[in-house]
Amino acid sequence: MLIRHRPDILPSEITTETLYTQRRQFLARFAAGLGTLALPGLSTSAAATSEKPFASLQSSPLSTRDEKITAQSNVTSYGNFYEFGPDKDSPAKNAHRLRTAPWSVTIDGEVKTPRTYALEDILKWAPLEERIYRMRCVEGWSAVIPWVGIPFSEILKRVEPTGNAKFVEFWSLADPEQMPFVRLPFLDWPYMEAVRLDEARHPLSLLAVGMYGEAMPKQNGAPIRIVFPWKYGFKGAKSIVRIRFVEKQPATVWTKAGPDEYGFYSNVNPDVPHKRWSQSQERRLGEFFKRKTLPFNGYAEQVAGMYAGMDLRKYF
């Protein structure tokens, strides 16, 4: 006998496939919309008309202009984000587990008023900019990436570090529910990298919330990460939940992992080899042949002054 049950969900209530498949776009726009709040003129047009909410941003004069931008698919499919696994394709495979909204960042330590901010509030502090930067990984590969973000110096203006603040720590999220590999002890979680205060204040230092005109992909450190283009990529912590100002130079995650292989500064330097390989050359993602690595990743003119008088072999 056939017993008819009333369906649990009325057909009219079922989300149509088109709407369903657009949900990620919606989320991306929403996340992106957070950022564009800072730009009233752009927020409606950019967020509503395309999947590229940041597409119409002006590129900053600090952008690298004479190099071909790396294909977006290469940057989003290849990289290190050990919280999501040890292989280059692990982040793209596993980072979907990351929940990027709501997101808040605690700014504490040697600041006037330590507190936790909602991400959207931080992004109101300054207009977003596009910055095209070279990115050089300590492993010998590199890319040219159009980031979207705000200069970190704008953050410093707002949070007012005290006179004791000499270094800035950037802490990544380390939630084993979202980041399965933080259960394994191959780094001393949570991931934390730090720079000197003057390095953080440098105009090139960028707090990035997007790339290629889109909200930051999860595998690249959504929703907010830091970028120091003259340093090896690992100095740029991803998915930041805490920014702490301290007086003493901290032991960072990679200096703890290999003090003789990863220095505190980790400025790109073709003349100081890694213990296990040369740093004189690099290979752009998508290319077959290597190219020369430039001192300070090509930003020597802007940043070398900060290291005047320092022995870069000792302070690698």
Binding site: G85, P86, R283, G286, F288
Partner: protein, 226 residues
């Protein structure tokens, strides 16, 4: 069912097999055509050619067991082509290594071969493959004599083991499954040969209480195979 192809059929089978063996080139040609080898083209080309080298090595090693088990002696006539395709992919693999990794700089290549154990192993396997490829023709068989030729070609066994070691040494600890799978395949294929040898070895008559079949002299490299 013991199918034996006539010369015409055998020629057709060989043509088909040749085409199949060329198929692994298709993704490489497609990537070259579209200009998109992914984020790490060198690694992609090296892994792909390396994978197909060891695939064809294992397939070549399958021929004899398959022939014996299936009772189809003509399968041996496909072995040379499979072995040569193994060499073909190994050559591409080697060219990718010297070309993309070192841009043909001999000193850098030499240093790398001595410095990184997995490169040492890979290079050793490639060197061992060279005489086998060079002597894969009738003239060489005649010149060497069947038996010496066969003994030379048994170096495929240590070569297969070195190839597995090469694979083990190059992957990360998290990706050991594939080299393990190949090592098991090679172990089975070589183990089968050892067992065949033991089975066929003529028991040496022994005095006393030894039962026949208990003692099996096994001289791997100079015993006449049958």
């Amino acid at each position: 069912m013991s199918f034996t192809p006539n010369p015409r059929q055998l020629a057709l089978i060989k043509i088909a097999l040749f085409a199949i063996c060329l198929l692994p080139l298709a993704p490489l040609l497609h990537a070259a055509w579209s200009g998109n080898f992914g984020p790490n083209p060198v690694e992609y080309v090296q892994r792909w050619t390396g994978t197909w080298t060891i695939n064809l090595l294992v397939i070549t090693l399958c021929v004899t067991p398959l022939r014996v088990i299936s009772g189809l002696p003509w399968l041996t006539r496909l072995r040379r082509m499979l072995g040569l395709f193994c060499f073909f992919y190994a050559l591409l693999h080697f060219l990718a290594f010297i070309g993309f990794d070192h841009e043909f700089a001999v000193d850098a290549i030499a240093r790398d071969i001595f410095k990184r154990p997995f490169v040492t192993a890979g290079f050793a396997a490639f060197v061992l493959l060279l005489p086998l490829a060079a002597s894969s023709n009738q003239w060489a068989i005649r010149r060497l004599g069947g038996r010496r030729w066969q003994e030379l070609h048994r170096s495929i066994y240590p070569l297969a083991i070195i190839a597995c070691v090469h694979y083990f040494w190059l992957v990360k600890a998290t990706a050991l499954l594939w080299p393990l799978a190949y090592a098991i395949a090679v172990t089975l294929l070589l183990g089968w040969r050892v067992r065949e040898r033991q089975r066929k070895a003529i028991p040496v008559p022994q005095s006393g209480i030894a039962k026949s079949g208990a003692a099996k002299p096994l001289k791997f490299f100079s015993q006449r195979p049958k």
